[in-house]
Amino acid sequence: MDVRRKRPARQPARVDHLLIAEMVKPGARVLDIGCGDGELLSLLEAERDVDGRGIELSQSNVNLCVAKGLSVIQGDADRDLVNFPEGSFDYAILSQTLQATRRPRHVLEQLLRIGRTAIVSFPNFGHWRIRLHLLLWGRMPVTPNLPETWYNTPNIHYCTIKDFLDLCGEVGATVERSVALNAYGTQIGKGLPLSWQNIIGEQAVFLLTKR
């Protein structure tokens, strides 16, 4: 079982993966941190001809990836990113994993150090359904997108789109692009101000560079 990377209970077509793939330049060197069963890496290799590597916490997922021919190592985003040299990848991707790390700030800093560009996606805790859930029921929100109860969720560091922007400011990241998505990974709220995206977006994808 992969405990690092919880997907929405509904299994949508991974439109968010297509969105990430679209952000990646062909032939780039890519590190996918928390690469799961290698779905995104496979997509990037097939569609973007990238030189792709992955890090994954779950050993069974790693073995699956390697059997598929992907270059993946077992490792922990919190602990193992320091081993990689600065600027060794064109893109460092952290897809739906940031909220499950012990030290999100450290991980984001490492991402920006290793990759010339970082791509980060995460579930948005500022979504209206979550706000409403907490307001009406007074309990930690359990939504289709975040189906676990507070005591068994791997997601220990939730944030909203606004919170994430603050962290980007703190670590000196420039937001090149930000996209709000619904639970199915489809872009929504295009052109709306960020405070609105923070309400209607169930997930967000950020393309970052180091200032």
């Binding site: 073995n63 390697v66 021919g69």
Partner: protein, 397 residues
């Protein structure tokens, strides 16, 4: 071309080893400074070399292994030691790749070693054989590959001491290794590993029939000492759990203990059998030399104390494999290798396989190992532009 060319078109090799001879004027320069000449390398091949000579896989054998990786062994009549991995349709697919496995220098299955004739005396080398290292083994393999007319290797793969050779290949011949699969191994021998080897060597040398290493000249053989060495080593290849599940405290062909020192327990009987079967096929001095070579192995020390330096500039694709219950070459040793490769952003996969079987797992039926090897090799082959199957013209045809 040298006579070895005929081997390239061999599809199903005969049980007799092929041998490449290197004459007095083609010496092997050893780490110790000594020159070894003449010398011979015994080897087996499987499959066909393609016209581009780009599909060669070198399999490196472990301490007591040999070149008979996928054919019936000429002495023991047992299947090849890695028939689970090497063969038609197997993870190292001989329908697709041209597989070479050579007996290491210092060995006793046809390559020059301490039991070979010393040209200066006419008798066996014995302890006059120069001390060899893992790098010397790899140098000798590189000479063989050159002799076979193969410019570079698609893959170098091996477990245990074979894995050490894989790492040494990747460090010493970067441009000649497209992909590397070090399995159940380490970039250096630990103090514990050295300690176990020393027990084995002392057992051999304590046998009066060892005769200071001159047992061949004196017509004896340190069978008891070598058997004890093998027994002790064999324990290190198994996990405690595997031993317990296989034997527990079960008695051997008896209802009760005999209050003596016969093999009361099945595990004793098993070890005695392992020891005595081993001495029939292995030379005691070879055992001393090869264990020494493993003890001397420290890839980081050869590169300024930093393991990453050993691989600096590499373009090789790596797949590092370890097993959970292997306490001889535990996963942390493999992680050191992976960490070093990450430090230079090398292309590396790392698989730790859940197994109860201990160090020996790499030789046994481990489907996850097979999946990892075939997946990794398949992707590497695609990168190298190898065709999916082997409808190949043999090289030099």
């Amino acid at each position: 071309m040298p006579p070895a060319t005929s081997a390239i078109t061999t599809v199903t090799p005969p049980a007799t080893a092929l041998v490449a001879h290197f004459a007095e004027d083609e010496p092997l320069r050893l780490d110790s400074g000594a020159l070894l000449a003449p010398f011979s390398i015994a080897y087996q091949t499987y499959g066909r070399l393609n016209a581009e000579r780009s599909n060669a896989v070198l399999v490196c054998h472990a301490l007591t292994g040999d070149q008979h990786v996928a054919n019936v062994h000429p002495i023991t009549a047992k299947p090849g030691w890695w028939e689970t991995v090497v063969g038609p349709g197997k993870p190292v697919d001989t329908d697709r790749y041209f597989v070479i496995c050579s007996n290491i220098i210092g060995g006793c299955m046809g390559s020059t070693g301490p039991s070979s004739a010393n040209p200066r005396t006419g008798g066996a080398y014995g302890l006059d054989f120069p001390v060899i290292t893992i790098r010397d083994m790899v140098r000798a393999q590189a000479r063989l590959i050159e002799r076979l007319g193969i410019p570079d290797l698609f893959c170098v793969i091996g477990g245990s001491m074979g894995g050490m050779q894989v790492l040494e290949w990747a460090a010493s011949y970067k441009e000649k290794v497209f992909s590397a699969v070090p399995i159940a191994t380490a970039a250096r021998h630990s103090s514990q590993n050295i300690a176990f080897h020393e027990v084995g060597r002392q057992a051999v040398m304590a046998d009066p029939d060892w005769r200071g290493g001159r047992y061949i000249a004196e017509g004896t053989a340190p069978r008891k000492g070598l058997a004890v060495a093998r027994m002790a080593a064999h324990i290190t290849y198994l996990s405690s759990k595997a031993l317990h599940e296989k034997f527990g405290r079960k008695l051997q062909d008896r209802e009760a203990v005999t209050f003596g020192f016969d093999a009361d327990f099945q595990v004793e009987s098993y070890l005695r059998y392992q020891g005595s079967a081993f001495v029939d096929r292995f030379d005691a001095n070879s055992y001393l030399y090869i264990t020494r070579a493993m003890d001397y192995f420290d890839l980081a020390a050869d590169h300024g104390g930093v393991l990453a330096n050993a691989f600096q500039g590499t373009r090789t694709r790596f797949c590092v494999v370890s097993f959970t219950s292997d306490w001889l070459y535990p996963t942390r040793e493999s992680r050191e290798i992976v960490r070093a490769l990450n430090a230079i952003a090398a292309n590396v996969s790392f698989v730790e396989i859940e197994s109860d079987k201990g160090h020996d797992a790499f030789l046994l039926h481990e489907p996850e190992l097979f999946g990892a090897i075939s997946g990794f090799l398949g992707a590497a082959a695609a990168r190298r532009g190898l065709p999916a199957s082997c409808d190949l013209e043999p090289a030099g045809a």
